[in-house]
Symmetry: none
Subunit: 228 residues, 4 copies
DNA sequence: GATGAATGAGCGTTCATTCAT
DNA sequence: CATGAATGAACGCTCATTCAT
């Protein structure tokens, strides 16, 4: 009505139709991670998002859909960012692996998105749909990416010729462990080493473990080729 | 391989009456692992154990107590077996590490007990008591054991001097990953490599990663000392 | 056949604004008849009327008021038309009855107004106000009208002397049955006889049933007087 | 424990597993008829049946199944009773019709089962499944029965040759009207004629309407044949 | 006037727990 | 000891109603 109102940049009562879904999934992510799927009451999600119970249903058809949206949302851009990075990279694959691990920490490990793996692991049995979705959209593309790096390294002679599927699992395991720990027992064990230091050591171990150079150790002659 | 099984002395076929609680926890373990705590209905536990719903309450005060009993039961003995093994061991620590990893697979990884970690991780937030208990009874003793091995290896010059806490995490991570995978997404991804092969590769990577011998790799001069 | 339509004088195409309430009650009538009171969602009424949910509340205080308006609207005028017709009629009462029945079909039975009886019957228990209103405005005046016809016929010797209240019910029953059927099970039983043929047969049965002339039937001597 | 307890014929706490379903459907019938399907709260059904809300679900999977059970239960035996009666009958069909109408009043019209038609009419739109079920199990068998009677009468020359489908509707209409009235507006119009007298008059009208004998009425020559 | 996002009371349904037998 | 019918608190979801725009 007044000419002044036109200048407002932060109207107090904007219909927040577009911001709402993210506010809700953010609240839901926290609670799902804290309490599990079944343990999370939609009323609490609503309260934490600052809306009423009914509002949830304006944006998500039901609890399962909200859950799926939470999982989906947390994992779209991160993966494609890695993919892009890999396309551009030149130089040793070990260097790329390091960037991927650090990038994972920046974008996922150190954020609340890292709660999603725990969610999925916990609820896979009850939500086959989620399990399939996560496998198709996250696990398989993610492992394919790392496998490609490992295989490039093997092809170039940088890495020794080991089973690339196994290598992928060994690259991922500590990252998963960090994420799971931080969202479960970590809450009860306050003094913990800096995860970044652990990741550095992990990368250092990987460097040695993947290297094509032979390693002379106490109990076995290492030829650079994998065991049996 | 049969390293862990020597300590058991209990009669294998006690009277049915005494076996009831274990039949129940066995049924409960399966279901808790499959469906999580909240997703498991006591009626189904009863049905799978071949008893009536009411009978559950003759042995367990409530669902939470049953859950705790399931977790508690799956954990106690194996650790002491490892401790004993360690006391007896002579020779390279890498060899001991290998026995521990294989023993873990025999006694835990390949059995339904491997579902326990998933349970604990999933429900730690809802059952602080379980979390504390698991930390006190399993995590801290377990890591202490491995840390002792690593530190013995460092002291003897077999291993290079890295942070033993970090090393422990890196030793455990793939074992945890295998256990979690088998009880969650693994059910939806049929073709999977043999976990034992993965463990072999893991041990091979560890051997190289832990070795005191320097490793010449493409992007860094390795002196045997840990990074940074 | 067009007997009833003569009295209407209102302009047929008033301004849209004034038409709104009627568009809403028209939409509401359809839905209330299809789904019952509780089964009808105001959101659907709004959608069918082409307005927003909020707009409903500009015209009707709440769902119950809308419902009452729907019922009220479907009832008033036709009765006065019959009353008028009756005042003018000369000749046999059976002929008047026939006109009334045909008129009912024209103005009510074949239109969506015929859904009103179903609504009232279904919701009488929940809406005493509607029940009373319908009794006062429709049932009692309507039966009075028919009763007057029957009684005129009896007085003139055209009809035999039976209980006029009972006769009224027997005149109405098939009309009600047609209306109710068409708005309930009729939707699930596609092939159905033409209601007009049924009404003809009904009138034919009434003619015989009401006639003062004796009827010789197999199992009773008919004197024209009603049975005990 | 005591020898006395064996003599008890009315144990105070018998598990009433077999009586319960009928107690519940009886309570549900009352409430469904009073308040409609949606208007009936299961909590109230439970309370009226003297059980808890949860107990309902021991016997009926959900509200819709309870509803179907109510409908089913009220109309199985009555229909077969009529069928049986018809098989035995000898003599005029008009007599059989009279027995059917009286029987309907005894077994249905005067009992609370008469509330079912109203229920079905009200909810057919929301529960196609119920509508189909009622058509298949009640309406079609019931009309077939009456049609058979009418057609036998026509074949024997007792009735004039009219459309038997129409005749069936005209036979039923007043019965339906009585049932519906008693469960809707009837509650608000206390003084009402005895339905049995109305049924007598209805039968008397039918006798005249169906008779093969010609009837001389004021406005039409009646030849016994139906109108065009 | 008209909109539709937001609300929250209310109900159907589930399931851990109890207890008479 | 064992049973399983019964309970009722708790929660997901719906939808009539409100109100800032």
């Amino acid at each position: 009505m007044s000419t002044f109102s036109e200048a407002r940049n932060e109207p107090r009562w904007t219909r927040r139709k577009d911001a709402r879904p993210e506010e809700i999934t953010a609240a839901a992510l926290e609670l799902f991670v804290e309490r599990g799927y079944a343990g999370t009451r939609l009323e609490d999600v609503a309260a934490r998002a600052g809306v009423s119970k009914g509002t949830l249903y304006l944006y998500f058809a039901n609890k399962a859909e909200l859950f799926k949206a939470v999982v989906r949302e947390g994992l779209v851009s991160p993966l494609s960012a890695v993919r892009e990075l890999m396309g551009r990279h030149e130089g040793p694959m070990m260097e790329l692996l390091r960037m991927v691990v650090y990038g994972w920490w920046e974008r996922i490990g150190s954020t609340r998105i890292s709660g999603i793996p725990k969610l999925v692991i916990s609820e896979a049995g009850n939500f086959p749909e989620i399990a399939e979705f996560y496998l198709a959209e996250v696990v398989r593309p993610g492992t394919a990416l790392i496998r490609a790096i490992v295989e490039r390294g093997i092809a170039s002679g940088e890495f020794r010729p080991l089973d690339s599927n196994e290598a992928v699992d060994l690259v991922f395991a500590p990252l998963m462990m960090i994420a799971l720990w931080n969202h479960s027992l970590g809450a009860f064990e306050p003094r913990r080493a800096d995860p970044r230091k652990l990741l550095d050591t992990h990368l250092d171990m990987l460097r040695r473990g993947l290297s094509a150079a032979p390693v002379q150790t106490g109990d076995a002659k290492d030829t650079g080729a994998p065991q049996s």
